[in-house]
Symmetry: C2
């Protein structure tokens, strides 16, 4: 009864479900370089700040209201809030809030935001079981490796056809991370990956709505539940990922299986993770970065006659809004980004508030920013010239913005970002306590020492 279909099946795929399961179940704890370990801590810390920062957003309010219909047991923390809910609901809500500001981490090879699905699932489970930071970091590194390697296998075709790759690979990462935390053997871990393989979450049409951040949350919940089912003996196909009617072949024409197998256990995909310094699309980042460099060199808004930008055409195509009317529109205005960089030296969620976007001083400064298309300039670069009222010209060239792999955020910059997110929700003292706890996360005996700090009333 088989019919022809336009997508040819690959019957010779290697057994990647079993390979990834064995890797997840048996790779030694802390079996990687110091650089990978450091990236794991930074990934977790950055994700935590994003989740706490959006804890009072209307998306978080709606998600908490919905899961509370379930009268969930108080098993795990909703980050930045006092409600405690069951672990599946905590994975869902924390996954949603960590992606709500579009400010979380990015695996640059695939544009997967891996911590949303993986950390949200792993932290909820670890909190309930009283597990420590070492186990969480191990689960995070391995879970991210599974999600991003499957992402590499399919990117860009899978993304191009309309899947939001964060949620449509994240359930595998969450399943792997939770299977690891539960101590499942390779067979049960394969079952967890298999159950998760039937549950990709997210199409790109949702961008611009709350369902976009729902995708990492839904993937976190799906992966966590898949691991619990596998632990209880639930079965799935041991070739659920690679078979002709398995996940990868159903959702992608590109099937670069070697992306799963090459250097497995030696190269870790978390090494390619990056953290956004600015709460907006990546294409404006070089311009904001250049403006903050002007500020660091002592240029003040009052001195400026005009600021000239030369940028790739894509920058104006995507973010050429001259007169943004509110915070969301501000995220699509390179003019506003430059003004924020010069005035505030940063461009976090606060600098994209309605109030800041409509501040008359900001409106006036934006009017003095001029942008010219120059396609000899790379998409990742900007050439900026500040022409001062005294006639001086100050030039700044940025080839790779802060936050790129070439110029990663320093730990101090990451901390400043974290505190800008967390302080409005939990206060400066608590933000500092959480920073300190994350700094010694590998030695934390029980993650509840950390999660207690993430509830305002605790």
């Amino acid at each position: 009864m088989a019919r022809n279909t336009s997508i040819p099946a690959d019957t010779s795929a290697p057994p990647i479900t079993a390979l990834l399961a064995r890797f997840t179940a048996t790779h030694p704890s802390r079996g990687w370089s110091d650089a990978v370990e450091r990236e794991a801590q930074r990934t977790f810390y950055n994700w935590l700040g994003c989740a706490i920062g959006a804890a009072r957003h209307e998306a978080a309010e709606a998600a908490v209201a919905a899961v509370q219909v379930l009268q969930p047991a108080p098993q795990a923390t909703v980050l930045g809030r006092n409600e405690r809910v069951d672990i599946a609901s905590a994975a869902l809500v924390n996954g949603i809030s960590s992606h709500t500001f579009d400010f979380d981490d990015t695996h640059l090879k695939t544009i997967i935001h891996p911590a949303g699905p993986v950390a949200s699932a792993v932290l909820a489970l670890a909190e309930k079981n009283g597990q420590g930071g070492r186990a969480v970091l191990d689960a995070l590194v391995l879970g991210i490796d599974v999600a991003c390697r499957v992402g590499n296998t399919m990117y860009p075709d899978h993304y191009d056809r309309g899947w939001h790759i964060t949620g449509s690979t994240g359930m595998l990462g969450a399943a792997a991370g939770c299977a690891r935390l539960l101590g499942l053997d390779a067979h049960r871990t394969a079952m967890a990956l298999g159950i998760a393989a039937s549950q990709p979450v997210g199409v790109r049409e949702q961008f611009g709505t709350m369902t976009k951040p729902f995708h990492p949350g839904g993937a976190a919940r799906a992966g966590l539940m898949s691991a619990l089912l596998a632990q209880a003996g639930f079965t799935a196909s041991p070739r659920a990922l690679e078979a002709p009617r398995g996940f990868v072949q159903v959702v992608s024409d590109k099937r670069a299986w070697h992306e799963v197998t090459d250097e497995l256990g030696e190269r870790f995909e978390i090494s390619f993770n990056s953290y956004k310094p600015f709460a907006c699309g990546i294409v404006i980042h070089p311009s904001i970065d250049a403006a903050t460099q002007l500020r660091e060199r002592g240029v003040t808004p009052g001195q400026v006659e005009r600021i000239e930008l030369r940028v790739h055409s894509l920058v104006l195509e995507l973010t050429g809004k001259r007169e943004p009317r509110d915070g969301l529109q501000g995220k699509f205005s390179v003019y506003h980004g430059v003004a924020a960089g010069l005035v505030y030296g940063r461009a976090g969620e606060d600098e994209f508030s309605d109030a800041v976007v409509n501040d008359p001083a900001m409106v006036a400064l934006r009017a003095r920013v001029q942008a010219t298309v120059d396609d000899s300039i790379d998409e990742e670069a900007v050439h900026m010239t500040a022409v001062l009222k005294d006639g001086a010209r100050i030039e700044v060239r940025v080839d790779h913005a802060i936050g790129s792999l070439q110029r990663p955020l320093s730990d101090a910059q990451l901390q400043a970002k974290f505190e800008s997110l967390v302080t409005p929700v939990l206060g400066a003292a608590r933000a500092a306590e959480i920073t300190a706890a994350c700094g010694r996360i590998a030695g934390l005996a029980d993650m509840r020492q950390l999660t207690a700090l993430c509830r305002p009333g605790a």
Copy 2:
């Protein structure tokens, strides 16, 4: 940054998300013919029997164990069991158990099994809210219409590329049914459909594992949670189904939008629902049916010299196992099916037990069944000749098996099937009580009157 992709996008799709949302929210209660209403009752009743019948299967045991890790609130019944769990978990587990025996209903145009996702979600929500049978039947008819119309839009391409269409459209039906029960307006119903559109469940590689019945369960849970999120104000794209990067275009090359719009509110897809009389693949059904007709004509196993079958080649290709060793293999043996029909007059889950398959009398009778391929005979037909020891020849020809749209199960046959499923779990008296309650379902003031009967200890 858009790349080429092999699937051309359709930018002129009609607004089917909004259309289906308005239909779901505003179509009048009981706004259909008596025939549709009757099919709604039969669909619900058949689904209920399937779910109760599999309540002690190892898949149900594992699923209950997994959701109980969440310490769910006792909001809703796990059918056929004493545990009560939160409504999302009840939707999940009842959706799993109702599909575990592969014995549930089938929308023959798409091979969607629609009650699994829709009824499992709707009953859990109605039970918690104390809603009555009228509201449940309305939600069931409308939810099934939404799932099957979207299925019609994409079938067969979507199925052929590897999606298990029951779980990958069922979340829309569950979302619609629950939105209706919650009384959401057309806008919020569109948001519920939109959130659900990001959560298709199931690839066909899972067939033969517990993750196959997980698909309707996962879809039920996803749809229910989508409606709860929409009720709480969570947003999705209002074009989540039809946009170029929306659900339908991402998962199917076939996009027959008119399947959603044609006769919406006049023709109801539940009219094309059917109920399996036999607990095995549909391709053996004509042969079992013919054997039961022999039995009804007084032929006994002891009289039979041999039974000759002429069947389409597909029958032996899929179910040609001559010497099945256990119950599962028995489901792939037309020889066993014929023997069961002649000996028992039925082929339910009991007749596919290991004990019956290995019963020496059955083994001996199977050896006297001969099958010949004759491709002039339709896939849905069989020509059977019983050659008796006294030399008599009795011929039976079946063109459409019992359970097909042409020869639907009578209410008495459906009741016999229901009781064969439910009696081993709840006893004959309780099975009769549930049958009676389902017979007056439209008048039930509170579904808890029914669900209480479905718990052994209640």
